[in-house]
Point group: C2
Chain length 356, copies 2
């Protein structure tokens, strides 16, 4: 039966950041698809939409009127998942009581922000200019600083849901930032992994990972002096990528102007390639992982700035990957390998298909 | 600002089985929805479809002809994620080598089965009679026994994806069973939690949990002598439920005829209520967690049979919950509380809406 071939034989790969596994079945890409098809987004939106609650000058569902903003615009989500004021929850915690150890809860205060990237209704990151994306980074940095200095909250999770298939209900370019009293599960898990790696090996897991990927080269999609975009060895989503700081940088607050410019440039280049892959406005959820705004112990030292991009599409603009059944009950499964995905993203044109 | 109210204030709840957290934002149910709408499934399918690759007597894409089966029918998936034969993968593992500790993989052999529940194209579990569901349980039990005795593989994950929104490409009633060389991540995680709970408290986490839920009653949806169906305290999906054995039973192999009958009965009753909730064929992924077919150490003793149901719908037949953005980068978030969901499921009729 020959020798083992990662491009043809089933295997699992370990994710050292989240301490989990993914099943890879590369031979399965031949499978025909008879299931649900996604609608593609129309490419012909107006640059202002009178019914959009994010466009400048419009009135939102709960009453407030948006300013006539000219670059970015930040406001508190009208339907926030967490709020600044609520009564404290004080459970009678005692590990001897079966009920309190099995029904464990915490009160969580915080604030949810919406951040518009542009006054234009019909642009997206790949269609924005690099200085405009730098301005988005500046807006994130100011909000991070403001939350850090003015609130007692623990973490600021900045993320973007793009496309109807990712639960985004408005195409106006925007992201969200949820500021919470507690450190959310995913970054908490990453800190656990980073901490135990450093304790064991004396180095930073993500610094080491960046240097391994430099040696291997097969999963790197794009890079510049400050950042690299790669398909992680342990990617779950078909075209999942990670933007990783080349040097050990804790948060947006530590970026030099050069780093900020390099990140904006890489974000633009990566999302252009994403759009070109299936000639569609490529849906994804993306987000930043960085130092907590209110860090404890070694968290700042451990932090190595990175962004995750989780795009659902598998084989064209209308066929997505479903992480269901085996993925929910067993473990995530993917078809094409991380290396094959990186090849595909590298192969597409670097000029946006709408601008040619 | 008053006292803390679980039905009105944001909080996190801990999942002791998977060792993770969920953010609950009960006030957020008022949020209007302008996003993607799902198609509802048509209720008027024929009982035989000549183009269906699962109907009796039809030919599948890769050539084989289905027998004219009269109850259940099991076959090996034509596009299996794992296969019985492949070359062994032997990595040069050494913890001193940065590359091998960051790029960790394992070869995985196994078999993927498809299990048709019925020859009829247009039924689903809630529309089947209890003896027919018992026959499905018998089929699962035989397959479990066969894999246990005839293969070296570790685990058999039985699961059903129901509905196009859950990635199911064929409405013919069927589930899958993936038999793998490795213990998948989710059950492995549960065994870790069960083991550490027993080490600490001397009892079984799920036995204790069943008795806490009996005392509280607020999250129990249905029960009989052998099983209970409840919305777990830490549920993530809006109408997530768990079917839990009332007594410490390791696997399908240990069921008495009475237990088998009780489980079939509860599965039918629960899925009828699901369908009645939004008067639609209710989509979900569900699956069984039980003892590994090839257990090591204390795994059989630790096993407490249960089933998870993960349904995506939130507010009607066409509006689903998206676990995206914050959920992927931070932690899962839900709107209505587990207790509110249980109330809703209890409130619907026990007779299927199509049979009235
Ligand atoms: O094998 P199926 O039903 O075609 O495929 C479906 O279930 C599998 C197991 O949960 C998933 O990996 C696939 O993404 C999904 O589309
Ligand atoms: O706040 P939005 O964009 O309306 O809502 C979307 O993103 C949230 C955060 O990822 C999710 O909790 C919602 O399920 C999703 O629909």
């Amino acid at each position: 039966t020959g020798t083992f071939d990662f491009n043809n034989n089933s295997h699992r790969r370990y994710n050292p950041l989240s301490d989990s596994w993914v099943l890879v079945s590369p031979h399965r890409t031949q499978r025909p698809w008879q299931g649900q098809q996604e609608k593609t987004s129309s490419d012909s939106l107006p640059d202002y939409d009178a019914t959009c609650y994010l466009c400048p000058g419009n009135t939102r569902a709960t009453g407030p009127v948006n300013p006539k903003y000219e670059s970015t615009f930040v406001f508190v989500n009208d339907y926030a998942a967490v709020k600044v004021d609520q009564p404290p929850y004080e459970p009678s915690e005692s590990d001897k009581d079966m009920k309190s150890r099995l029904l464990k809860a915490q009160g969580t205060r915080g604030t949810c922000f919406v951040i518009c990237f542009s006054p234009k209704h019909n642009v997206t990151l790949p269609l924005m200019r690099v200085p405009e994306i730098e301005y988005v980074l500046d807006t994130w940095t100011s909000l991070y600083y403001k939350m850090k200095t003015e609130t007692p909250f623990r973490y600021l999770q900045i993320f973007e849901n793009k496309g109807a298939v990712m639960g985004c209900s408005n195409p106006h370019p925007h992201c969200q930032a949820w500021c919470t009293e507690s450190l959310p599960f995913e970054p908490a898990q990453e800190f656990r992994s980073l901490r135990s790696y450093t304790a064991k090996h004396g180095t930073c897991l993500l610094c080491d990972y960046a240097s391994v990927e430099q040696q291997e080269a097969s999963r790197i999609v794009l890079q510049n002096d400050s950042f690299m975009a790669l398909v992680p060895f342990w990617a779950v989503w078909p075209f999942e990528t990670m933007i990783l700081a080349q040097s050990h940088t804790a948060s947006l607050l530590d970026f030099t102007p050069k780093q900020k410019n390099d990140l904006a440039d890489l974000m633009q280049k990566l999302t252009i390639r994403y759009d070109n892959l299936f000639q569609t406005s490529f849906p994804y959820s993306m987000g930043l992982h960085q130092a907590p705004i209110n860090p404890v112990a070694d968290e700042v030292d451990l932090s190595h700035f990175h962004m995750h991009f989780y795009p659902p599409l598998l084989r064209g603009a209308t066929v997505r990957k479903f992480l269901v059944g085996f993925e929910m009950l067993g473990e995530p499964q993917r078809d094409l390998t991380a290396e094959q995905a990186a090849d595909r993203i590298r192969a597409v044109d670097e000029v946006h298909y709408l601008l040619k």
